[in-house]
Amino acid sequence: MASFAGGQVTLTTAGVPLPSVAATKEIFVQADFTNTSNVLIGGSATQDFKLQPGDALWIELSNLSALWAKSTVAGGKLNYIIVN
């Protein structure tokens, strides 16, 4: 049976890894609907993938921390769900 964990990260304009949370299936990330700018996600080198407010993405990763994120304007929030 699948189990879930979730959380929220408040971002700055500098890319940071998301918290270390192990995942065995997949990860959903969502730019919070209240954001006033885009959230950018990617790896440690670059974060080019843009999530507008409310946009979501799913990806199969073994740990949430493989994903780096930043916000175009400081204070943007990124929500996540981990599926195990």
């Binding site: 080019d48 993938f49 507008q52």
Partner: protein, 169 residues
């Protein structure tokens, strides 16, 4: 776990470690114990549930160790096919024109292709021969591919931006 409990053999014959066997009878006992232990491990291995061993062809590898190594490789191959979570992520962006061009070379297990939210029209995604899948500004598509460069993209006009996120590779 070692097959033979060396300490038990030494306990039976202290000189065994130096190969100075004083008592052939004790040595025989030690060897008997050794075979008992080996039989026990053989029986335990044979008793493992085989339900998960569903591979139907020869694994190859020459030896058992080689075959186990091959199985490890196959697990890795499954990940490269996108059949499991990955440990790495990378991202990038490419400017596309009205003529189709491949995205950059990058090995991966899966790629998420996104038309930049600021684009003024559709981005078309597909193979080298045809790009019919339309992405409106901000839209994305997940594709389980082994190399980003197998994806060709073009814009409704020059100067559109395509962002991508890859995992694995």
């Amino acid at each position: 776990m070692p097959i033979v409990d060396r300490s038990k053999l030494i306990a039976l014959e202290p000189n065994l470690e130096n190969r100075q066997v004083a008592d052939p009878e004790l040595l025989q006992t030690a060897i008997t114990h050794l075979f008992d232990v080996m039989d026990l491990h053989k029986d335990q291995a044979a008793a493992h549930d085989a339900a998960n061993l569903t591979y139907t062809g020869p694994v190859g590898g020459g030896t058992v160790a080689g075959a186990v190594g091959n199985l490890d490789v196959r697990v890795g191959t499954l990940e490269s096919m996108g059949l499991g979570p990955s440990a790495t992520v990378a991202s990038g962006a490419a400017m596309v024109g009205a003529t189709a061009s491949p995205l950059p070379q990058a090995t991966c297990a899966e790629a998420v292709i996104q038309a930049d939210p600021a684009n003024g029209g559709y981005v078309h995604v597909g193979s080298a021969t045809m790009q019919m899948y339309q992405l409106g500004p901000g839209e994305a598509v997940n594709l389980k591919i082994s190399n980003l460069s197998t994806i060709y993209v073009r814009g409704a006009a020059d100067g559109y931006l395509v962002n991508y996120l890859t995992r694995g590779g």
